[in-house]
């Protein structure tokens, strides 16, 4: 059944795409940082998002903890998970071909999903917080999505500021530009790797906390998010920090317009198709500078 396409409808679609895109950008920033600095493709990134979402869900469900405040717990928790994973596992395979770390994190992804299924069952959970929507300028904004968008934006900007200004942030950027020169300048590269992996995981955890107030939380939610994050960082250029932000917004918009013009049924496939198309046609990303 064709819906008449009007300007208000298009603006509404634009807004909801943008709101979803903000959270995608936050999650993908973590993935692209890990790739940019360590050349590791973390297949378990979506599972880290899932863990973050469960932290929020359990805190909310068991003790009624405020989902937004739970960010203060989910981010450090996932930071530690990332630190642990890097120190004891990923660090051992960094000098081997990229495919090794890919298979290793693939193992972690399977492990995390199935442990979650075992302990927390396959039930769909939801965090009922800030339901409803607000009307502004003739457009409806879903309240949880609006709040999640702004929080995601804040965390993303804070991360950029951290990378730009702080000593560790500068060391992270230096390592991503050239590991050897960074080492020669006295940067402890192994420590930077561990911190980067931790921050990447923490950003995934933050994304999980925010996404839990938007969509259902279940153990297998991560696979789709891993793929979407890949799409985002491929759109923005792999390892390009700012590109992840624009790529996130682009994916959000592509999904919401796609489900309008093509079909609701294929909206899930839009991310996959974009991923394949961009990698095949322009592997350096839409916004990226070519990195070799």
């Amino acid at each position: 059944m064709p819906i008449p396409i009007t300007l208000p409808l298009l603006s509404q679609i634009f807004v909801s795409g943008l709101l979803a895109g903000g959270v995608y950008a936050l999650i993908a920033l973590g993935l692209t940082m890990i790739f940019g600095v360590m050349r590791v493709i973390n297949i378990s990134h979506g599972e880290m998002v899932m863990l973050g979402a469960y932290v929020t869900f359990w805190l909310f469900h068991l003790v009624g903890f405020n989902p937004l405040l739970s960010l203060l717990l989910s981010m450090p928790a996932l930071f530690l998970v990332g630190l642990f994973m890097e120190r004891f596992f990923v660090a051992r395979v960094l000098d081997l071909p990229e495919i090794t770390s890919l298979l290793l994190t693939f193992g972690f992804s399977i492990l995390m999903v199935n442990m979650a299924l075992y302990f927390w069952t396959a039930d769909f959970r939801s965090v009922e917080y800030l339901t409803g929507s607000v009307k502004f300028g003739g457009l409806y904004f879903s309240l949880p999505r609006l709040v999640a968008f702004w929080v995601a934006l804040t965390i993303t900007l804070a991360t950029f500021l951290f990378l730009k200004r702080s000593r560790i942030g500068k060391a992270i950027r230096a390592t991503s530009q050239s590991r050897d020169v960074a080492m020669a300048c006295g940067i402890n590269v192994r420590r930077i790797y561990a911190i980067t992996f931790g921050i990447g995981a923490a950003l995934a955890g933050a994304g999980g906390s925010l996404i839990s107030i938007m969509i259902a939380v279940y153990p297998e939610m991560g696979a789709l998010l891993t793929l979407k994050s890949f799409t985002v960082i491929v759109l923005g250029g792999m390892g390009n920090f700012a590109g992840a932000f624009w790529g996130g917004l682009a994916l959000g918009l592509a999904e919401s317009f796609g489900s309008l013009f093509i079909s609701e049924k294929v909206s899930e496939a839009i991310a996959y198709c974009l991923l394949v198309l961009v990698l095949v046609i322009k592997p350096s990303g839409l916004f990226g500078i070519v990195r070799r």
Binding site: L103, I110, L111, N114, F230, A269, A271, V276, V280, P283
Partner: protein, 307 residues
Amino acid sequence: MRVRAGLIVLGVVLLLALVPLLMQTYVVSLVLFIFMYIALASSWNIISGYTGYVSFGHVAFFGVGAYVCAIMITRQGMPWVPAVLVGGAGAALLSLILGFPCLRLKGPYFAIVMLGIGEIMRVTVLYFEDLTEGGFGISFPHPDATIPSYFAMGITAAAVVALSQWLANSKFGLRLMSIREDELAAEAMGINTTKYKIVAFVLSAFFPGVAGGIYAYYLSYIEPESTFAVLITINMAIMTIFGGRGTVLGPVVGAASLYVMSELVWIRFPFLHLALFGAIIIVVILFMPRGIMGLVGAKGVLVRARN
């Protein structure tokens, strides 16, 4: 040595051929699925073990083979054996179309693209309802086909293993391995890497397509979620990695041991057993990168025929 190896192979084949005559249906179907996973893991091994291009979406070829076969049987009234082969051809055709753009990408990017393609195929099958019946699946009841399916799957598995054995000992296989070790150097040696990668990819897609067709015929019912399950790709990868990537017997050993264990022991703990699979990958990658075959020294059958 040659004669002894030949006798062992002959003995194993005879023993397996007797299974349907002597055993109960349950054992027959168990061995049938072991055959299926041997065929799938060995095929995965061709592109991901020998050639070094890890494919996280190989279930696409299995699923396409199953669907093409089922559609040929139900719509065209084709007998099942040619339908199964057409299924394999469909998977091979898909891999040929995908291979040209995707194999230009370097390893990790290829892995990610394939992850997307597995899902795209599932959504595509759901979308073209007229042809595939969408989420309802295709059902084509026929009398019990366990025994013919058993032999068909066994022949498929044997064919892939024979192909792997040939790859391990032929110039063609050596060229694939040189691509894995250093693609640039391989190209500098005058190897047409694009051609070899695509041929390897098509070979590694054809047999999963055939296995998918036999699977569809055996079950006489297929639907998108289980036919395109990510788990099937995961199994192919884990069985091969566990057994030993880039070896002939690795995928065979991996498929047989992990499938038997998951059927007999772990089936009672569904999620824990998959979590254990994840842990196995981590341990194998870190501590025994050449898998079981690396541990046992891989002597005998695996010794290169030429020096």
